[in-house]
């Protein structure tokens, strides 16, 4: 059972790393390997030394044959002890490095010296625990054994607690629901691994080097690998909890990797859709041509009317009005289409977020003067952006949001822009109190020429445009929506002040 659980953890970590090669997955793989090395060394030691009943044998090894194979592995006790030491002292270090990797607190992540500093104690301990060095030290003074055993126990505990504190601190800093959920699952995975590590953490590899010596047996009694750390029921509980938690974290990381992959492909797909849509533009041009042909008829009629000796002024005015309306409508639609498809260059320069939001508010107020809008959190925040395009993007979100309010009959409630600095992002959260967006709509709303509203007045280019603008600002556009309660479009832009 234990061997199966450890093998599964290693396998999942390998899959994770091969799916998403990053420092994060590399550290998780290294942590799992360190844990596996620690546990396997302990299991080999138990297999060699015995002292377990049939039930415990099944729990730890699965079958007698597996235990037999491990028992007869050609490893000296010094090799086995050092393998335990490597697993035992690398795991807390890797855990701290992972926690530092996750941390976006400027007080922590700007201190680059923390990483090399964290390596000092584990590396020093691993040098001390080299069998010849260790035996020399123990032989030098009897107290050295007790000092070493107690010291390593303390620093490992400090590392584990520090890492957990860092993770908790980081979790509390996250406000974006998507990232909060994702981070919670990652933490669950890391904590589950640490739970498995904790089972044999108090044991010191010195007992393997010095098992038969009175120094160890006399001085540090009670620390013993062969004592079952838990009873059978608790072992089962721990293994089940570890597998479930790790699977959750694994799923989260895999989904995140897939999400990134999907987004990259989505961009390509949307571009393809846009290319396809350009065919729609041809159709549109064709229909405009028909409109122009119709206008030509109107003009001919107008011409014929004017050639009469006494033209009917009323008819002339009707023709002129029709022509004028048709012309304006076409101009407006042409302009909107042009604005949507033209390739603009983006110029990123520092701007006050407040001014960008106010520009968006101004445009929004022109279209919906009666709409209520609240802006918060943007004071004193600088962002790197193209002011016109970003304001236009926010304006589009505001327009969509307010139209959702109107559709839901909630014009009495304000639409909100909430800005905040979070981890490495500046977040602009546009929240409405509409009816929310269904899961099926969420798949399509960023597509060009998609609109759930009146297509005579909406081209369905708004969210496509917003997304394109946010992406061109190296940002991310996320949607959180709850049916019946409203939606939040979250623009995440890289923090201009560096963040980390």
């Amino acid at each position: 059972m234990a061997i199966l659980v450890i093998s599964l953890l290693v396998l999942l970590s390998l899959v994770l790393f091969s799916s998403k090669r990053s420092r994060e997955t590399g550290l998780i793989l290294a942590m799992t390997l360190a844990l596996a090395l620690h546990w396997m060394s302990v299991l080999i030691y138990i297999a060699k030394k015995g002292g377990i009943g049939q039930d415990m044998q099944i729990m730890l090894f699965g079958t007698k044959a597996i235990r037999h194979n491990l028992q007869y592995l050609l490893l000296s006790l010094k090799q086995l002890g050092y393998a335990m030491a490597v697993g035992r002292y690398l795991y807390p270090l890797l855990l701290v490095l992972l926690a530092l990797q996750y941390s976006y607190d400027p007080r922590i992540c700007r201190r680059r010296a923390l990483r090399p500093l964290a390596c000092i104690l584990p590396v020093l301990t691993l040098i001390i625990y080299l069998p010849p060095v260790f035996e020399t030290l123990i032989a030098w003074h009897r107290m050295m054994l007790i000092i070493l055993v107690k010291t390593t126990l303390v620093w490992i505990a400090l590392y584990l607690l520090s890492a957990l504190a860092l993770l908790l601190h980081e979790y509390r800093q996250i406000g974006i629901p998507f990232y909060r959920r994702e981070f919670r699952r990652k933490c669950t995975m890391v904590i589950s691994l640490s739970l498995l590590y904790a089972v044999y953490y108090p044991q010191d590899p010195a007992q393997v080097y010095l098992f038969y010596r009175n120094e160890y047996m006399g001085a540090v009694q009670g620390l013993w690998y062969l004592n079952p750390a838990l009873n059978l029921g608790n072992y089962m509980l721990v293994f089940a909890a570890v597998l479930i938690c790790f699977a959750l974290g694994f799923r989260s990381l895999m989904l995140y990797a897939q999400e990134n992959f999907r987004q990259e492909h989505e961009d390509v797909a949307i571009q393809r859709k846009f290319d396809a849509a350009s065919k729609g533009v041809s159709v549109f041009v064709h229909s405009v041509k028909n409109q122009l042909l119709a206008n030509r008829i109107l003009l001919r009629r107008l011409d014929a009317e004017l050639k009469k000796e006494s033209p009917d002024l009323g008819r002339v005015q009707d023709y002129q009005r029709s022509l004028s309306q048709s012309n304006e409508a076409m101009l407006l639609r042409m302009e909107e289409l042009y604005q949507s498809v033209k390739k603009n260059s983006i110029t990123l320069v520092p701007h006050a977020l407040e001014s960008v939001c106010l520009a968006a508010k101004e445009r929004f107020a022109r279209k919906y003067p009666a709409a209520s809008l609240e802006i918060s959190g943007c004071e004193g925040v600088q962002i790197l952006c193209d002011r016109v395009h970003m304001a236009e993007a926010i304006y589009n979100l505001l327009t969509n949001g307010w139209e959702a309010h109107m559709a839901a009959g909630r014009e009495d409630k304000p639409i909100r822009i909430c800005c905040r600095q979070e981890r490495m992002w500046t977040v602009i959260d546009v929240t409405d109190c509409g009816d929310g967006i269904s899961a099926s709509q969420r798949m399509q709303i960023f597509d060009p020429f998609y609109s759930s509203k009146n297509t005579n007045t909406n081209w369905g280019m708004g969210l496509y445009y917003v997304r394109a603008i946010v992406r061109s600002h190296l940002g991310v556009l996320r949607l959180e929506s709850s049916i019946g309660r409203g939606s939040s479009f979250i623009i995440q832009l890289p923090r201009y002040d560096g963040g980390r």
């Binding site: 015995g50 592995l73 050609l74």
Partner: protein, 325 residues
């Protein structure tokens, strides 16, 4: 109603009777060889422990020092140790409550291909041993006998199982180990591996007693249980010491160790298996004390024990005598 009351009464009586005869559960440590198991498996299979009200659960260990550590951790009540671990008893870690046998199971084995024919040939060779056990002890005797120091060989400290693998794979040239590992190595080598010496070789300077041990604290609280266990062992020794029963005992040993009967049967010559009368007589006339004295002297000479300790400090002769009454 009367029927119901009678039924309840009967059930209560059954429960009380059950409680009254509930056996004392004991976790007993052993090593997977004939010498360790010959008496205890006989006691279990012949029902001698049950007769004494004891429920014996056997737990396998690789060697004696590990058994003592397990007893100190509280997971084991009593256990069997080979000669090497006796130094821990002399040093006060445990008490011997019953003598088991004088063994000849330890050997120094060597590969002829590595150019080793005698103990003196071990010089400069890779020699594996299991620290703290009789393996280390017999290797020390062998080196001293040939006038060599520990530094004259390339010593590899391994656990008992790894010694077998290392020897069979040719990773080491020689090793010191005990039966049945000795038989396994010799049989697998197709005539290449030979025994350079065994316990008998050093009979002039030491004996190799094996014993049943208990922690001091445990004995103080459970002297009656230890006595019952010894009584059951005596009955088992009477059965197991008879040559006509060797085959049966070997079957039980093979069953317990999950090995073939031939391997277990091959170990019946590893010692002279004493009867309870021999143990009792030995405990009363000082013969057994003499064995332990000689053994202690050898440990003092090799530096494993610092100073002489009265044998009665760590051997419970009273228990052995009382159990024989």
């Amino acid at each position: 109603m009367k029927k119901l009351l009678s039924l309840v009464l009967v059930l209560m009586l059954v429960c009380m009777a059950g409680a009254a005869v509930a056996n004392t559960k004991l976790n007993i440590a052993y090593m997977p060889n004939y010498a360790s198991l010959w008496s205890v498996v006989t006691g279990i299979n012949q029902g001698y422990f049950a007769e004494e009200g004891l429920d014996v659960q056997l737990v396998e260990f690789a060697d004696g020092p590990t058994i003592i550590a397990a007893m100190e951790s509280g997971s084991i009540d009593m256990g069997y140790i080979g000669p090497g671990a006796h130094k821990l008893c002399i040093n006060g870690r445990a008490k011997i409550f019953c003598f088991s046998q004088i063994g000849d199971a330890d050997h120094v084995l060597a590969s002829k291909k590595a150019g080793i024919e005698t103990i003196a040939d071990l010089k400069g060779k890779k020699v594996g041993y299991s620290s703290g056990t009789s393996s280390e002890m017999i290797l020390k005797y062998a080196l001293e006998e040939a006038g060599m120091q520990w530094s004259d060989i390339e010593a590899y400290e391994m656990d008992a199982s790894a010694l077998v693998t290392a020897m069979m794979s040719g990773s080491i040239d020689a090793c010191a180990c005990w039966s049945p590992s000795t038989t396994t190595i010799i049989n697998a080598s197709a005539g290449d591996v030979i025994s350079l010496c065994s316990n008998k070789t050093f009979a002039h300077r030491s004996v190799s007693p094996a014993s049943w041990i208990v922690l001091n604290g445990y004995y103080e609280k459970n002297a009656e249980t230890v006595l019952k266990f010894t009584r059951a062992l005596y009955k088992a020794m009477d059965f197991g010491s008879k040559p006509e029963n060797f085959e049966q005992v070997a079957k039980w040993v093979a069953q317990q160790c999950a090995t073939d009967e031939a391997t277990a049967a091959a170990q019946t010559g590893d010692a002279a298996w004493p009867s309870s009368a021999e143990v009792l007589a030995g405990a009363q006339d000082g013969t057994i004390e003499g064995y332990y004295k000689v053994q202690q002297s050898a440990f003092i000479a090799s530096g494993d024990v610092a100073a002489e300790v009265p044998v009665s400090d760590y051997v419970l002769f009273d228990n052995m005598v009382e159990a024989g009454k």
